[in-house]
Amino acid sequence: MKKSSIFGLIVIAIAIAVIISVYSNSSTYGSFNDAQKTNSELHIVGHLDKQKELFYDATKDANYFSFYMKDNKGEECKVVFTGTKPQDFERSEQIVLTGQMIGKEFRASKILMKCPSKYTQDKVEITEAKAKEASI
């Protein structure tokens, strides 16, 4: 066998390995119901329940923020985020959470939210908050 063919095979093998590892690392979009059933982290899309309490008091704990979110299936759950309250959170119209269920609470490691821009209806802004920066 020629050397280039061997190398070609190695490259193909690596490419396949990459695809598999991406696929296995990628998470899925789900609901709170799905989160109950699994131990792995997943993404949940939903919106803030503005009727219920948003709790953040920096003077008590600067790293604790909790709120209630309704997922796209209408299910509601308390969400706890380890970090400061993202700015303009109240105005968000869509939230994407990353995290997992712990007991009855959803512990979010990342919050991505979309806010309607104050001036223009046609434009949407996105901001992100992360619970902690993963160290490599």
Partner: protein
């Protein structure tokens, strides 16, 4: 119905729109003419060529014209134009007006078109026999860019988006502001109600944002040149010749785009608050992807030039690099990344337009490659195993693989759109990217190292192994030392391997550099560039891997019950009350006050380093700032203390000391309301020399004296105004205050004075002549009203390796460009 709007300046917009149409028309004309000039077999017929050049020059003029018009509009605050209103404001300093210029999609397309026009001028001047075919491709790309700006309706579909669209066309003013609906007179004069623009996103108000986008876009724009040469080579069947000039332009593109990317990460480090210089955000990846491919392409082009091997890899990578630039621009501009990226552009209605752009150039490349496939120069023989060309080829393939991975992950939203799947990006993307990209980086850094000891064609095997092993052992020893000192050994195994690889690469190339100084000057450029790359790796690894959050709250005081239940989450944000020192790492940190310079609010944070005896060894002040922006909320920017070996990075997440529009706050306070901000007042009867205690210090009455004037109130002969001179001492600092008591026309008044730094208000409320005392009413802000900030501080060790490595790499590539250009000239002499 035509409404005669008042006060609009329509000329610059009309002129600009004219230039856009001219730019599109002339680019198209030039493309077609260059095409026919290339295919024309009659050598003496220059008519097509002349026409093409006329079109090209007209395009350059038009592109510059668009820029001038747009600048005029923004500079003069003509808010009747949507672009000016959306991206700038009156308070913006001139240098940020430049950055507001390219905040929007339109401005950045213009920037791209501008650089492409500049490069076109260089090519028309320099490319000689290559001009016609190469410029055909460049002008085709220019046509597409111009079409992105045109902004006209065609068959009910808007094509492109123009920066000269008017505010009243872009927004439905009548809908958003009902008053315009009811009264046509108001609507006619709508401009008089629009006092100021939206302003520039505070995050972009950074000097790096003035220079980073132009650099990045020059990099993107220059990637079309190697692509155009490759296409021209295929088209004109000059299969071998195109490589030589393409190498020089590729080097240029790699240098500029690389600089642009690092500038972007420096900006992120300096002014964003995610706490680092690289976050694998899709937008960052989008600029890294084409860069990696072009770096790979560059190496195999050099291989081909020297040995005749790797032709196919070279041409495919060059073609792919530009298609990936277009793909990256599709990713970031089409809005498809919406849910996965923080700072991608939102969809401006150009989704299919951008797709068409990618597909057009992709198809062009594939079709030409397929047509000419059989005729391309291929080598029958494999490379020798112990030859430089073989391992450079392997390296290029690995760069392409690492890029393949980036494309796969970054494009997850694209796969979802195409296949209807519901995949989400990895939950911990940083870790995912780090581990996989690190694995590729290990291979690449080792290759950069040992390939230096090989020769083209055939290497003396024994000597190669001896030198390789000696250097490897040496590198391993140095790595052991480095990882011990910096603490990198605590990281994942693969990062330690990169460290060995990067140090090995530095050492091997240092040897080449030393040889080069002795006479083999040819390789000096590549050696320097590789050393720079190695340093970038070392710096990135240490600083990202061992960065430490020092704003940990270890006191346990503020743990809420819910929090204790959660398992050891790192607590990265610390609450600091004003003037209450907190021990943070080795520093004693105090939030000492604020200074406001609209629109920025600076939080003064004092860092003290104490020695064993409690004496201050070092003291410095960091001023992280924030803007309370009505549109975006609190936007904070960090401040960083730079040491030679490490950086200390601080930013404020939240505070009760900052309010919206604080610069404009009127002085008209309602007295009664103001008192509500304080605890119930306490009355003290004091004589000069007496002190009044309060929560955070004491107040000393130093004396009582006549006051000559109070603001603008005239004091007549029989009026009396006396002031109580107070000295407030709190946390080692002294403040003065002088409340005033006045009798005017027989009635008593008093003027309160505040010391906001300590949250006190004083009134000189009465004079008690009997015992020559006075009455001072003290208002103290309640504990909860005390100013606080929530702060995060991170230490980045050895980050300067990263920045200095970049500079060294750029110098190295620059040296290579000089060398290749010299070779080009020599080739021409021989011909």
């Amino acid at each position: 119905m035509n409404i005669d709007f008042k006060g609009e300046h329509l000329l610059p917009g009309h002129l600009g729109q004219f230039f856009i149409v001219l730019a599109l028309g002339s680019a198209l004309l030039s493309t077609i003419s260059y095409y026919f000039a290339t295919t024309n077999t009659n050598k003496f017929d220059r008519s097509w060529h002349n026409l093409a050049r006329i079109g090209f020059y007209a395009n350059t003029v038009a592109v510059v014209g668009i820029g001038v018009c747009l600048f005029y509009i923004i500079y003069n605050h003509l808010f009747e134009y949507y672009y000016a209103w959306e991206h700038s404001s009156r308070s913006l300093p001139v240098y940020y007006i430049i950055s507001s210029y390219w905040e929007g999609q339109e401005g950045s397309f213009w920037l791209w078109a501008f650089w492409q026009a500049v490069l076109g001028n260089v090519l028309v001047w320099k490319a000689k026999s290559w001009e016609k075919p190469v410029m055909t491709i460049i002008m085709l790309s220019q046509t597409l860019l111009a079409s992105m700006l045109i902004g006209v309706e065609l068959f009910g579909q808007r094509i492109g988006t123009s920066p000269f669209i008017l505010l009243r066309e872009a927004l439905n003013l009548k809908e958003s502001t009902p008053i315009f609906n009811t009264n046509p007179e108001y609507y006619k004069n709508y401009l008089t109600y629009i006092k100021d623009g939206n302003g520039l996103n505070p995050l972009l108000q950074n000097y790096w944002m003035v220079i980073h986008p132009p650099t990045l876009f020059l990099g993107f724009a220059s990637m079309v040149v190697p692509f155009a040469y490759a296409i021209a080579g295929l088209w004109q069947k000059r299969y071998k010749e195109w490589i030589q000039p393409a190498i020089s332009y590729s080097l240029f593109a790699v240098m500029v785009l690389g600089t642009g990317i690092i500038m972007g990460s420096f900006w992120a480090y300096e002014s964003l608050t995610f706490g680092g210089f690289w976050a694998w955000d899709p937008v960052e990846n989008a600029s890294l992807i084409p860069w990696l491919v072009l770096v790979g392409a560059l190496h195999v082009m050099v291989v081909y030039k020297n040995t005749g091997h790797s032709y196919f890899t070279a041409i495919i990578l060059v073609l792919a690099s530009f298609v990936l630039v277009l793909y990256a621009s599709f990713l970031t501009r089409s809005g498809i990344l919406g849910e996965s990226s923080v700072h991608a552009f939102t969809d401006a209605g150009m989704f299919w337009h951008l797709v068409a752009d990618v597909v057009l150039f992709l198809v062009l490349a594939i079709v030409l490659l397929a047509l000419r496939w059989k005729e391309l120069p291929s080598t029958k023989k494999d490379e020798e195993t112990y030859s430089r060309e073989f391992w450079m080829f392997v390296g290029a393939i690995f760069l392409a693989l690492s890029c393949f991975h980036l494309v796969i992950v970054t494009s997850i939203p694209v796969w979802n759109a195409m296949f209807g799947t519901k995949l989400a990006p990895p939950t911990d993307p940083v870790k995912h990217y780090n581990i996989i990209q690190a694995s590729f980086a290990v291979v690449v850094t080792f290759l950069i190292g040992f390939t230096q000891f090989m020769k083209y064609k055939k290497t003396d095997i024994t000597r190669f192994f001896i030198t390789t092993v000696i250097y490897l052992v040496f590198a391993a020893l140095i790595t052991a030392l480095v990882i011990y000192v910096t603490g990198v050994y605590k990281l994942h195994f693969v990062f330690i391997l990169i460290m060995v690889g990067a140090i090995y690469a530095i050492l091997a190339n240092a040897k080449i550099f030393a040889d080069a100084l002795k006479g083999k000057a040819k390789l000096v450029g590549s050696a320097v560039a590789h050393i720079g790359f190695g340093l970038v790796m070392v710096g990135a690894l240490i600083s990202a891997g061992t960065s430490k959050i020092i704003s940990e709250n270890t006191s346990g005081q503020q743990f809420s019950a819910d929090f204790v239940n959660a398992k050891n989450d790192p607590r990265e944000n610390i609450l600091m009350y004003r003037n209450t020192p907190v021990q943070m790492g080795k520093y004693l940190v105090t939030y000492v006050g604020d200074s406001i310079s609209a629109p920025n609010h600076y939080f003064k944070v004092d860092y003290k380093l104490l020695d064993a005896n409690g004496k201050v060894k070092e003291e410095f002040m960091l001023k992280p700032n924030a803007q309370a922006n009505r549109k975006m909320g609190l936007v904070s920017s960090p401040d960083t203390k730079h040491y030679l070996l490490s950086d200390l990075y601080t930013h404020v997440n939240m505070s009760n000391a900052i309010t919206f529009d604080e610069g404009e706050q009127a002085a008209a306070h309602d007295e009664a309301n103001d008192d509500k901000k304080y605890d119930a007042p306490v009355i003290y009867n004091v004589a000069p020399g007496d002190t009044i205690p309060f929560r955070e210090g004491y107040v000393l009455l130093t004396g009582i004296g006549r006051v000559d004037h109070i603001q603008n109130i005239p004091i007549a002969a029989n009026d009396v105004a006396i002031g109580a001179k107070l000295k407030v001492v709190s946390h080692g600092k002294t403040y003065d205050a002088e409340p005033v008591y006045m009798i005017k026309n027989g009635s008593a008044f008093d003027f309160a004075r505040k010391v906001d730094e300590v949250g006190l208000k004083f009134r000189f409320s009465k004079v008690i002549p009997q015992n020559s005392k006075i009455e001072i009413t003290l208002y103290q802000q309640p504990e909860s009203q005390r100013k606080w900030i929530v702060m995060r501080a991170i230490q980045f060790p050895y980050i300067n390796f990263l920045w200095s490595g970049t500079i060294i790499m750029v110098i190295g590539i620059l040296l290579s460009i000089f060398r290749r250009n010299k070779e080009l000239k020599r080739v021409k002499h021989i011909l």
